[in-house]
Amino acid sequence: MLSHASLPHAGGRMGRGGILPLCEVVAMIWLDVLVQGILLGGLYALFAAGLSLVFGIMRLVNLAHGDLIVFAAFLILVTVNLLGLNPFLSALIAAPVMFALGWALQRFVLNRVVGKDILPPLLITFGLSVALQNGMLEVFSADSQRIRAGALESASINLGVVTIGTLPLLTFGSAVLAIFILNRIFYTTAIGRAFRATSDDPVTASLMGINPRGVFAMATGLAMVIVTLAALYLGMRANFDPSIGPARLIYAFEAVIIGGLGSLWGTLAGGAIIGIAQTVGAQINPEWQILAGHLAFLAVLIIRPRGLFPRAVD
């Protein structure tokens, strides 16, 4: 259960400043729930950004996305344990490895099947998901793991009205920064131009001297760098084990659909909506946390089937 680390500690505030009126306490609890939910949404946006990027460029959904996040978390964990490095430095080492892995996966496997028929890439990534999960189970066992972040794990900032965990805040900040940088890459660099051109029309892009397969491989590699960032926070904030990948894929997918296909800032909003729904659900009944997130997704799907911020050109 991912967000246990970020659940509100509303009880601790009762004693401060004497006896508060009941309605004020209730309002503060819900404000706290809201803030924690938005911060949790940052993590989900990180899960989702890579998925959104790859889908936007090559209309491909990687069903192994969640398992790749978990794999990256193990990679960081191993680096921390073997080299005794700080988790952030370990993620810096893991990122190029994940980039290479994503690049190779696209170049040697997925490029062979990307195209009009959606069945082959779906089934291949589904096979990869099952293979990855069980491979990790064999290598790392089913035990829960955690990337130790020392004092950072319990650090928090008291803003008076609410107390914010430093780690959730850092997660959210990283998500905002990652999406900002991705948008800059997309709209102001040559490779971003090539991404958009290839997404529009791969054949004409190749007439411009662009190799669409190379662009696809770059995009998947880039997505895996974001996956590494997501994995860093996933692993520091809560326990993880080889089986939790599919659920992360589903959260990521929900954030992408709520935000609107192809909109990275929309993905952040989508992540926040799932995060808020989950913390609100958990506040009412801890068993409803995950369910509430899914129901929020279904509600958005009814009201706005194309998401909150659909891209004009699709």
Binding site: A190, R196, A197, D200, A205, M208
Partner: protein, 236 residues
């Protein structure tokens, strides 16, 4: 002199359907060659084969004597063969300027063409440079497509049906750019249905019918009767 581009017995097929039956043609440096023919004669298939969108046997297409028939489109383009595709095919997600820049992503050094010189050639594009490419009129879009191909400073420019669907006055504006393009050193291949237009600008003409070259002559020496016969088949 080695031709820039040569095809030798070029054949092409879509599955069971054969579209080209042994095309031989050659383009020399600096030359302007027109390819004419009715709809379905195989002109667009020929362009797709040359640019590498359709792959062939290596020896069927030669660039400066080297076989390139099996190269993918991006590598053909990197050798200096740029294409203005039929229907213009601007990238809708890119602005006018970005469409031009992406054409220049693979640049061959020392050429004349840059953003500035393209804007001199087609001044209207400078005013519209931040608009989405697809927001422009058909003629302006065609200018972007030509500019985009020129941005790589190609030694051979292939233009597929640039006048299709445009008003005569707009076509005249576009063809007015041709002398400047040739002056900069590029050889040009023009695929046209407008025979008069093709004859007026080209050095040599190839006429295609049903996937075969039915006529090949210097533009100045060609007669209306010969074209009619090559275009529609021999009179019976």
């Amino acid at each position: 002199m080695t031709p820039i581009l040569e095809t030798r017995g070029l054949t092409a097929a879509y599955g069971q359907f054969k579209a080209l039956f042994g095309i031989d043609l050659a383009v020399s440096p600096g030359e302007c060659v027109a390819i004419i023919g009715a709809n379905g004669a195989g002109k667009t298939t020929l362009m797709r084969s040359i640019t590498g969108v359709l792959r062939n046997d290596p020896g069927m297409v030669l660039h400066r004597g080297e076989p390139i028939g099996d190269l993918p489109a991006d590598q053909v383009m990197q050798r200096g063969i740029a294409m203005v595709p039929e229907g213009r095919k601007l990238f809708p997600s890119l602005s006018v300027e970005e469409n031009l820049l992406i054409g220049g992503q693979v640049r061959r050094g020392g050429g004349r063409w840059s953003l500035d010189t393209i804007y001199q050639l087609f001044p209207i594009l400078k005013d519209r440079r931040h608009s989405p490419g697809t927001a422009l009129s058909g003629g302006q879009q065609q200018m972007v497509a030509i500019g985009r191909a020129l941005m790589s400073n190609p030694e051979l420019l292939l233009c597929d049906e640039v006048s299709l669907g445009l008003a005569p006055v707009v076509i005249r504006d576009i063809y007015a750019a041709l002398p400047a393009i040739r002056e900069a050193g590029a050889a040009v291949v023009i695929v046209e249905q407008d025979i008069a237009r093709a004859l007026s600008v080209a050095d040599r003409v190839y006429c295609l019918m049903e996937g075969r070259v039915t006529l090949h002559a210097p533009a100045a020496e060609i007669s209306r009767e010969a074209i009619h016969a090559a275009y529609f088949g021999e009179p019976t």
